[in-house]
Symmetry: C2
Amino acid sequence: MERGRSALGPALELVHTGRAPTRAVLTAELGVTRATAGAVAAELEALGLITVDARPAAAAGSQGRPSHRLSVAPDGPVVLAAQIHADGFRAALVGLGGRMVATAPGCVTVPADPARIIGTVVEEGARLLRETDRRCLGAGLAVPSAVAEPDGTALNPLHLSWPAGAPVRALFTEALAAAGVPGPAGGPLAGVAGNDVNLAALAEHRHGAGRGARHLLCVATGHRGVGGALVLDGRLHSGSSGLAMEVGHLTVNPAGLPCHCGSRGCLDVEADPRAFLTAAGREPGPAGSLLHQATELIRTSYDTDPAVRAAVELLVDRLGLGLAGLVNILNPDRVVLGGLHRELLTADPGRLRAVVADRSLWGRSGSVPILPGTLDHGSLIGAAEAAWQPVLDDPLAVLG
Amino acid sequence: MERGRSALGPALELVHTGRAPTRAVLTAELGVTRATAGAVAAELEALGLITVDARPAAAAGSQGRPSHRLSVAPDGPVVLAAQIHADGFRAALVGLGGRMVATAPGCVTVPADPARIIGTVVEEGARLLRETDRRCLGAGLAVPSAVAEPDGTALNPLHLSWPAGAPVRALFTEALAAAGVPGPAGGPLAGVAGNDVNLAALAEHRHGAGRGARHLLCVATGHRGVGGALVLDGRLHSGSSGLAMEVGHLTVNPAGLPCHCGSRGCLDVEADPRAFLTAAGREPGPAGSLLHQATELIRTSYDTDPAVRAAVELLVDRLGLGLAGLVNILNPDRVVLGGLHRELLTADPGRLRAVVADRSLWGRSGSVPILPGTLDHGSLIGAAEAAWQPVLDDPLAVLG
DNA sequence: CTGACTTTGTGCCGACGCTAAACAAAATAA
DNA sequence: TTATTTTGTTTAGCGTCGGCACAAAGTCAG
């Protein structure tokens, strides 16, 4: 059996995430000798994945021989990333380092049946690939639904009016074959599919506000409902069957609204954009625009409208209760919020952090940092991250 | 740097947990060649950790050359395990395979100050060690409190009337030195300390009802409050600072009792022995006997006393709600219950499983197995497991 | 009982990933 | 200029593991 250089994957991940800007840092991070780090970097360069710049802009102030600069290859291979959400879909090519190389304009279409829309978004991606000469090493798809493993089926694509249990991964892989996208070995390309919040969390961990966190908790909301995700030691924790972090049914308001799950006051119905708009006395618009409507309302009227401010406080309190419960269970060392929750945090960071610190049992002794997400297209980048994973695990197995 | 045989640790763990009864199975489980597995087994035997029995009792019915039998060395090294609970403490020597080699009679003492009681239990353990000629490779202590890392301090030793923040690991290590317990290298022995429920979960995963589970969730109650633990891919998940799985403050009864955390209806006050006794119309006895009182009541009167049966149903419903929340968040592939919860499950297994399946979102499509714990002294065995961990990770680093 | 077959255990060799150590290179400091 | 510091490279060697051939110990068919 082929045995690749085992430090190759970790080294690529360090360059990929920007945590190894030089061979010297790479040596320290990998815990190997300079000789090994040098050999590994040379091999990654030979594979066309990274570049070594012997003459960086200007040496820093420290003494000693200046380091060469390591960076991801600017014209290296890419992966095909696709995202489907309530109000459309998007396709892109993403290189190492989370760099968006090419994007198809975000098409706004009412999602019809899964096979059709997945076929369409894959065709967009295939078109982008034909316009470039860069190799495609993988493909990832983000959907607003839990994706069961090992089947790759979408269990609750609620906002998409898809049938529950749609085999999204199989449809994705079939669409890739139909669109003529070749895999790295020339054969067919196997796609990966995942929940959008999970994938966004992975992207935040690699390239965003979660960088360097050991245990990262992400909570985000799209238009309806609340999603969670957990990255443990750099790996997405999706549970034993891909269904972990369905956090929407934590009780955050015992006297609250009834939820379709049978309980009352679930996070899902108490801390999503619809709940916010209702609390602010606004009429919720069409389903596909709830997030934008709520975000705009906060950004434009938080400082001026007392009703908006009161709604923010209410939702911050509920969200804080849910976050505190999750922090007590998972004990992450960082929390990153997305979607509406990110806006709530930005609007009133002190209150949310205080609520969580107050309710999490060890809040006083070093409470957990809570940060807003920093990526614009987290789910899309995350889909790319999932597609890169085999390469990051063992570059030679994919490229060798 | 010394580089031990890297398959040595995994191989020892497989024999330790009984998952590799023969070299052939070991070969398959490790994913190596027969030659490597044979060399690894020979080295473990040379280290005195396992024995190879070339002539097992009787060959099984299958054809081909019969395997030699692998087992943990019956007179191999041991670790010192100690446990402190609300109504006393206990010390034991535990060999590989989770075998209790020697036990000091469980002393029933009201825990006074941490240093005194830890000193006493360590002296008991040291006495056991003096009565044997087996080497001691580590020491572990289980306490009924969250233990913060990396400090090793007990944050909420509520039932022990200890000061919060007692440095239990340091006290344990000091007591080991004071009692003259030598480490494997002749120097002082560094002890490890952990929460009792966490350690019991580790023990159940290695030697009990959790064996073979990928993601194991354990929930248990002692006399007061509810504890949780999570074993992910064979490693205890204790969070970024050792405080994970504080599950006692999940809301399971929105109209329930006020909890000291400020909320109402927390699992901690709704599903512990005191809550059960109250629900059954019994007067709770002294704090240190609540678990025994509740257990006895279920075992003797569940079949005959309608009030007891009603109390079981009530607590099963509340516990089920809490478990469903945890299952939705963590998506384990097995759940093991201890303490009173184990009794509740045994009394009415159908109801608890139905409640969890009903409330966990994907309950219908393959609900998670819920099993009673099978170990008598789980926390003690778990303390030993934690002490064995360095040996299981790299036997040569400890023994070489 | 004998021979074919199946499965397990072992010895030998080579590939490969890494460490260690010496050396070379490129900067700063005196 | 020379010494010092830090980085990169070369070479030798070691240890782990895969591959292979062979031996060992049983079952099964006749």
